[in-house]
Symmetry: C2
Subunit: 253 residues, 2 copies
Amino acid sequence: MPGPIQSIERAAAVLRLLASGARRMGVGELARALELPKPTVHGILRTLQLVGFVEQSPDTGKYQLGAALFHIGSSYLDGNELRTRALNWSDSLAARSMESVRIGTLHEAQVLVVHHVFRPDNSRQVLEVGALLPAHACAMGKVLLANDPVGHVDDEPLKAFTNATITDLDRLSDALEQVRQRGWASDVEELVEGEVSLAAPIRDRRTVTVGAIGISGPIERLCDADRQPRTELVSYVREAARSISRELGAIPW
Amino acid sequence: MPGPIQSIERAAAVLRLLASGARRMGVGELARALELPKPTVHGILRTLQLVGFVEQSPDTGKYQLGAALFHIGSSYLDGNELRTRALNWSDSLAARSMESVRIGTLHEAQVLVVHHVFRPDNSRQVLEVGALLPAHACAMGKVLLANDPVGHVDDEPLKAFTNATITDLDRLSDALEQVRQRGWASDVEELVEGEVSLAAPIRDRRTVTVGAIGISGPIERLCDADRQPRTELVSYVREAARSISRELGAIPW
DNA sequence: CGCACCGTACGACATTGTCGAACGGCATTC
DNA sequence: GAATGCCGTTCGACAATGTCGTACGGTGCG
C-alpha cells in the first residue's frame, strides 16, 4: 500500500489550517479552504476532538487546537538530541554575551526555534520556542541555508521585512557563500529594525549541520560603530557552537 | 456518520505512544503496543511522516515525533486566551514573589502547564511548558480538582511521590473541600522533597474555573517555621489570580 | 551459515470513510 | 413574524479506501 492514508493527510491539513489561522474556525470555513465537503470535514473534526487534538467552543461551535496536541508536540523536545545537548551551553552563552540565545533547526525552508534562553537582565521577554523564523532574514537561517545539502532557497520570492532584508537571490547566495567561508552569519536589521543577530552552525557526528545557535539583541550592543558585529560576541557564539558540536560527536578531539 | 474515523484515531494513538516513549520506536514495537498488524502501522507512519508529524532516523529506521507536530502544537498557545491574558500578571507575580510562576489547566486529570516564568535569580531552570503534573500532588492541581465540575478524581489510585503525598481519596476530598473554602491551595513537599507550591484559581466570565496560577520553590523560602505557607506569598498568588480572572471577565467590578 | 528480526511492498477483500441531501437552530432581514 | 441565510450536525447508500495476511530484501547475532 505505498500511498498515504487520505483521512490522515486531511486531518493534518485541518490541524495545519487551525494552527495558521490564529483564531477559531468553523466547519464551513475549513471545508471551503480545503475544498472538501462539509460533512467530511466534520467527521475529521469529530475524531480530532475525540483524541483531544482540537477543541470546540461550546457557544460558537467553532474549533481550535486542543491541549493534547500541545502536550504531544512539546514532547518532541525531549527526543530532540540537539536541544538536549545544547541546554547547558546556551545558558552559559547567554551569561557570557548577556543577550538572549536561541537554537534552531531548518524546517521547510524556515527556522524552527527549539530552545530559547532569555537575556539575563530580568526584562520582559516572550518565549519563542516553537516559532518559525524566515530563514533568509536571520543569522540562524543563513547558517542553516549555507550548510543545507538540499537547496531550500528559490522556493518563493524572498519577503522583505525591513529595507535591509536581502531579497535578491544572487545577493543571498553571495552572502551564504561568505557564511560558509567565515563559519558564522549575521543579520543586521534584516528582520527587525534595530535588531541584530549572530549565529554559528552546530554539526553532528557525520559533520552534517543539524542546527544553529545564535544570539540576538539591539544593534547598539551587538555592533560597533561601523555596524559590524563585535568580534568578542562572534567568538562567544562560535565557541558555544563548537562545544555543542563536540558534544554531538562532530569533533573527535 | 456519527463515529470516529478509525485511521485518524489510530494515528493519534501512534503519536501519543511516540510522545510517551521518550525514545525512538520501531514499527514492530508500535504494532505490538497497539495490537495492530505491522503493515497497518507502517501505513500510518508513512502518512504521518509525509505531513512531518513523525521523522525517521535514516540509519536505525526507527520513528520519532516530527518538527511539524511541535510547531503546530505550540500554536495552541496563541489561541489560548487564558495564557495570553495571564502573561503580564505572571511576570509581575514572579517579580513580587521572587519565585518561579506557572499557569496550568486541567487536562485528563492532570495539570497541563501552559506558561512558566523562571525564578528571577538567573539560576539554571528547565522550561516546563507543555509538561503534565499529577493533579493530586501539586497546588495548581488541587485548585483545579476542587473547582472541577466533572469529578476527575477516583480514576486511578493516587500515586505517591514523597511520603507527604496525599494518597488516600478521603483525605484528598477533605483537602479539596478546604481548598474550596479558602480559595487557594498548597502543596508542602507532596510532589518533590523540599519543594512547596501555592496556587489560586482563575475563573472566566461564566465564573468557571479555567485554570490556576501558582508559584513554587524551596520550603525554606515559601514556608514559615511551622511548615505553613507564608501569608504574604499566598496573597500575592491570590491577587494575581484575581487580576487575571477580572481580565477574563469573571469579576465585573 | 542460518536464524530472527527489522522496515517495507504487494494486493484481494470488505470494511470504512466519503459526501449529496436534509435537519434543526440561530441571526438577520424584510 | 414569516422568510431567508448561515451555522453545525445527522443520515445513509455507494464505492473508494484502508486494512492486514503474506512475502521480500537487509542487517546483526550466534
